[in-house]
């Protein structure tokens, strides 16, 4: 069972390595969106520090949506999704593996870029640390919940827009606790409470979303 999970993850990583263009698009989008704000708002450090955490988090949500619409769609188009569903291994492991691979491919790079963007918003070092920590806990949530949306909207015309409408409301708790953690660190009240709630939300998504996504996939493929 674990071998199947690793096979799914390794397969997606291999495919991502072969199509680096797709992979870079999402990362550049993240950097671009975040960088637009200081340009538009001006260089007042106090203002930037106030909006910085929220902007980085919102951009992370949008960047993950950009890549999520292709999570199952590519495999659906060439028929390999059907083959994977016909595998003797449980579908839950397939959806979990796809979500984990999505996080490794699109989530981890955000963690690496985020500190640089934090400097752009004049965030102090400890706030940047909390920002990275909140993204480290929060981005897997985006991949997991997003896999449910991607499975539900599979094969629909205009599925990309529908996916956005469907999934963004579900992302709200992650956004509130993630950006809130950095705000709390900036205010000096300590980020542990926010990070703990974010982690609880991660555990919940981990327990629920692979099953929901698997059920949605079976319906979508019919």
């Amino acid at each position: 069972m674990l071998r199947f999970l690793l096979t799914v993850i390794r397969r997606d990583l291999l495919l991502a390595a072969r199509r680096r263009g797709d992979w870079l698009t999402s990362q550049f989008f993240f950097v671009m969106v975040v960088s637009m704000f200081p340009l538009g708002i001006g260089s007042e450090p106090a203002v930037l520090r106030m909006i910085g955490p929220g902007v980085v988090w919102v951009a992370a949500l949008l960047a993950s949506l950009l890549s999520l619409s292709r999570l199952f769609a590519d495999d659906h188009r060439d028929g390999s999704l059907e083959q994977m569903l016909l595998s003797p291994e449980p579908t839950v492991l397939l959806t979990l593996g796809k979500a984990v691979a999505h996080w490794l491919i699109y989530g981890i790079p955000l963690l690496v870029i985020a500190p640089v963007l934090g400097i752009q918003f004049a965030l102090p070092a400890e706030a940047i640390l909390v920002l990275v920590a909140s993204l480290a806990i929060g981005t897997p949530i985006l991949s997991l919940l997003g896999s449910v949306g991607a499975a539900l909207t599979l094969g629909l015309r205009g599925g990309g827009v529908l996916l956005t409408l469907l999934i963004l409301p579900l992302y709200v708790p992650a956004l509130i606790f993630g950006a809130g953690a950095v705000d709390a660190a900036l205010a000096g009240t300590g980020a542990e409470a926010h990070l703990s709630l974010l982690a609880a939300f991660l555990v919940m998504s981990l327990l629920v979303s692979p099953w929901v996504a698997a059920a949605a996939l079976r319906v979508s493929i019919e």
């Binding site: 096979t7 060439d78 016909l86």
Partner: protein, 221 residues
């Protein structure tokens, strides 16, 4: 008469508002090839998808060794291999990688020499290291069909396997079908091309006859 391995009882299928067929009954024994015939849009592909379990029938049951496939679950999926009209191979991977990844996803181990031999047998010896993207339609079809050989399944469900294949390709598939049935394998397939399978136990089945109303089912001959 021995117990049929694959049997279908009172199967009905609808696509949207339209009833494609109903009251379909047939059984397939080891060593037999069920040749599903019917015009375009008559429900051949829908029937095959019902047999794989990818879609659920409106009524009726598909049984594998006497047990409905919904309850067999992984046991059925282990013994069944399906090649649909989409090839299910990734354009960015080489045929060799496609075959090995496909086997891994089906929970099997496939070492490189075996994969290579299978692809060579299907006439792909010269394009082992090329991404599938640059292969021709027929060559990609062959990669998908190579997956059948490495799957080691008892039941093959093939949707138009001959599409895009040249004369040698068709002859090769005929040889593979012959080999598979000799070993006691079952095949359910659709094709619009003539097949020459001397000595094979062919069993025609027509789906959705012209007078659609009582979708007549044909049980063997």
């Amino acid at each position: 008469m021995q117990e049929p391995v694959l049997s279908v009882s009172d199967l009905a299928c609808a696509r949207g508002e339209r009833l494609l067929f109903y009251n379909m009954n047939f059984a397939v024994q080891p060593g037999e090839i069920l040749l599903v015939r019917g015009g375009n849009g008559r429900g051949k592909t829908s029937l095959l998808r019902l047999l794989t379990g990818l879609s659920k029938p409106m009524a009726g049951e598909v049984c594998w060794r006497g047990v409905p496939i919904g309850q067999c679950g992984e046991r059925y999926r282990m013994e069944m291999a399906y090649v649909g009209h989409l090839n299910g191979i990734k354009d960015d991977l080489t045929p060799l990688e496609n075959l090995r990844v496909g086997a891994g996803l089906a929970g099997r181990d496939l070492d490189e020499p075996t994969a290579q031999r299978t692809l060579e047998r299907l006439g792909l010896g010269r394009c082992l290291d090329l991404p599938a993207r640059v292969l021709s339609f027929g060559q990609r079809r062959r990669v998908a069909l190579a997956g059948l050989l490495t799957a080691g399944a008892l039941l093959w469900i093939l949707d138009e396997p001959l599409t895009g294949l040249d004369v040698h390709g068709v002859a090769l598939i005929e040889a593979l079908l012959h080999e598979h049935t000799e070993r006691g394998g079952l095949v359910v397939m659709t094709t619009h091309q003539p097949l020459s399978l001397p000595g094979a136990k062919l069993r025609p089945l027509s789906v959705g006859d012209e007078d659609v109303a009582p979708a007549q089912s044909l049980v063997g001959q």
